[in-house]
Symmetry: C2
Subunit: 447 residues, 2 copies
């Protein structure tokens, strides 16, 4: 019998818990799950005899340590900033650990300690990061194995709304933490490399510097640059690649509209607005536009938008940005907090809405003197409001990885991420059964 | 006999030390001066028998405390972040203190302690902050005393190059810490109030949101908003004023040009550029412009500038931004560091150059049913490269304040700034002898 300890049972844990419970009898697993909201856990395990909802605070070392000590594997779905402390406990107590989050420098520094204790700390094994690494490495390894040389890699991912539920002019609904969506891209410039030239895009030009892609049957998307593309050269073993670019996908007009918010200054989270509790959407907009006597706010906003972006006007009107009857009612709020409330009011998932996860890779490589291109794309639609595409694509790789560790299929130790063929190949294979499948197209580039 | 301890003898201390030495015999003062560069102090005191250059590290508490304990007054010209620790020592050792810097919240919190020890900690008594407070309060008090009501106050200040030394297309040279000039306005939005509407300008629109002013015999200036205008309502006792705005003055085209740097992302100090030591001015510019095959960097930059700003092109060419022969040679540099080097190379003071300090206030007020306007402006030209306008306007108010404290003319105690008539009136009066004089014009506003 093996014991799996799960810390945190939020949105993206649903699909993972379902998978583990479905396999619990077969592999003789017991799940011990804790969340600050115990009823959430009880709902997700729904009386299954292989699982128990625990009653402690996972953020308190002395409360979680006895549980970690008795577990064979810990899965931390806590907010990313808590993984490091959990990892230190796992090392001390010699328990394997999985997290779906980015490896922080502090986490990376634990590698040798984890190795010496003979445990694995697997990170970045959700969707982005996670499936992006695995699906990219599969193609990169294939190109390398046959003697090709990757010269360009562009990769995009986005958590969006399914076409059947897409009924607003922004073509977006929050399928993930709204605060993170509002603050996306802030803090330093986006950096990438293009034909051996380093490029830096400051935040306030980010949503204006777009790549356009199209996916058969799903139409058009636009991608804005992620903050850091350059560190992926090392992750993927592509140290000398001339072009490497990663971006986030949205539907057309979302980015151009969001760029207006950034330009106005509404996404700023670094200061508080005076008397913010009294601010209406209308006053919020007016605070970022110049004072002008005798013209309406609508006119002032049109002047700010400029003629060439006037097609965005309706999107803003639909958001209720000119409304003056209700205040946000948040004291001591930053602009970003008011913007979040404005957006969440109109862009939240409705009953029966389904979400959509889109991933898109574009490789160029040289092979026997020929320039070739591989496009690989994956679209996953959520099942319902619990087993969303986000929950499936984040939770299933974690769950499959847990199975592989517990059954000895993964022998790797130390602080790692899923770029090893022995790890990504079986996971990608099994994900196909859940309709998480990549379509690949290869073509020859004519100069 | 009284002992004045001066911590820090940098640029703006020259005029202050000269004034104190010229008055030392008359008032029986001895000056004890310390700077990390002792030869700098020796040069400034030039053998005067009333002054001694000390040999300790002012940043080390145990080294400075005995000196503070023996002094009657401390003047801290250290970088602003060190004033707090010095103030704590002064409270403990019951020694009065003057600093030209802004009162930090931590400094303000020392008010009651300073009061209970019976000492004064006078801050914000340079030029900006300093002369701006004093010259503004003089007019505000005058309007109030006669029963008027201030409805609008706009205030601008700038450290510039004198017309006779203005020989570059940016009409600017560094007369102050270049790093501060490059980073000016960063961190949070500029906030002010205009006709009772709060306004917030994000950093990347700051240098594009300009006020134009003109001063007789000196021509045109442009002002960009300072970060925080709103806190001055309390400072000046203008809590309910509908319009309050503070800005920084530059000559026309400087701000529009600097806006291009901000827009490109070149003023960012929050991250490091890859392989920065190898970057040339040309590569630096290219890093912030898109990759395009077959067109020159000059053409790409023109596209970025847009037709309506093409008049700025020559300014950038003059800076050498297209040069490709020399690298900056700074390892691990932020964009802001490279930009600073680019600017300093071409915009530093040359031999015999003189600087210029400009201050400009514009008040509107209601008086007996009439709307009136007062414009008050001051222009000071530096004497030479040591007794600059910056050194005179920062150092002389400090020195005069020191005299007033030591002679008992200032009886105020606690953590304060010069907004009290008993303080600002004699200082403004004495500054006239140094050609630091305000021209006032009053007019009636016709609706």
């Amino acid at each position: 019998m093996k014991t799996i300890l799960i810390l945190g049972a939020g949105l993206s844990a649903s699909s993972m818990i379902r998978y583990l419970l479905q396999n619990a009898d077969k592999y003789d697993w017991n799940l011990r799950i804790v969340d600050q909201d115990k009823s959430l856990v009880e709902k997700k395990i729904n009386g299954h005899k292989r699982a128990v909802a625990l009653d402690f605070n996972a953020l308190v070392p002395n409360e979680r340590r006895p549980e970690i000590g008795h577990a064979d594997l810990v899965i931390s779905m806590l907010p990313a900033r808590f993984h490091l402390e959990v990892a230190k406990d796992c090392i001390e107590l010699k328990t394997d650990l999985i997290t779906p989050s980015y490896i922080s420098p502090e986490m990376r520094a634990l590698h040798n300690e984890a190795l010496s204790k003979g445990i694995i700390i697997m990170n970045e094994i959700g969707v982005d990061p996670g499936i992006d690494h695995m699906s990219a490495m599969k193609i990169i390894d294939e190109i390398r194995d046959k003697g090709g040389e990757v010269t360009s890699f562009k990769s995009f991912c986005g958590g969006l709304i399914a076409p059947e539920s897409d009924n607003n002019p922004w073509h977006y609904k929050f399928t993930w933490n709204p605060r993170n969506v509002v603050l996306a891209g802030q803090g330093g410039a986006a950096s990438f490399i293009h034909n051996a030239e380093y490029k830096y895009i400051p935040y306030y030009r980010l949503f204006d510097r777009l790549d356009r892609i199209e996916i058969e049957d799903f139409g058009k998307f636009e991608g804005y640059p992620n903050r850091d593309s350059l560190s992926y050269r090392e992750t993927y073993g592509l140290e000398n690649i001339p072009t490497l670019y990663r971006g986030t996908l949205r539907r057309p007009n979302y980015c151009k509209g969001f760029h207006v918010f950034a330009e106005l200054g509404m996404t700023d989270d670094s200061y508080k607005l005076y008397q913010s509790e009294k601010i209406t959407p209308r006053a919020f907009l007016n605070a970022f536009l110049p004072y002008r006597k005798g013209i309406s706010l609508e006119e002032k906003f049109k002047i700010f938008l400029r003629e060439d972006r006037m097609y965005l006007y309706d999107q803003f009107e639909w958001l209720g940005i000119f409304e003056k009857d209700e205040t946000f009612g948040i004291p001591n709020a930053s602009p970003a907090q008011l913007l979040e409330k404005l957006l969440v009011r109109k862009m939240s998932l409705e009953d029966n809405d389904k979400d959509m996860l889109v991933m898109y890779h574009e490789f160029e490589y040289l092979f026997k003197g020929e320039k070739r291109k591989i496009v690989s794309s994956m679209i996953n639609i959520g099942e319902d409001e619990v087993y969303t595409a986000m929950s499936n694509t984040v939770g299933l790789p974690v769950a499959i990885c847990a199975k592989m560790i517990l059954t000895g299929k993964i022998q790797e130790k130390g602080v790692t991420l899923p770029v090893n063929k022995l790890v990504y190949e079986p996971i990608l294979e099994e994900l196909k059964a859940f309709e998480i499948t990549f379509e690949e197209h290869e073509s020859i580039i004519e100069d």
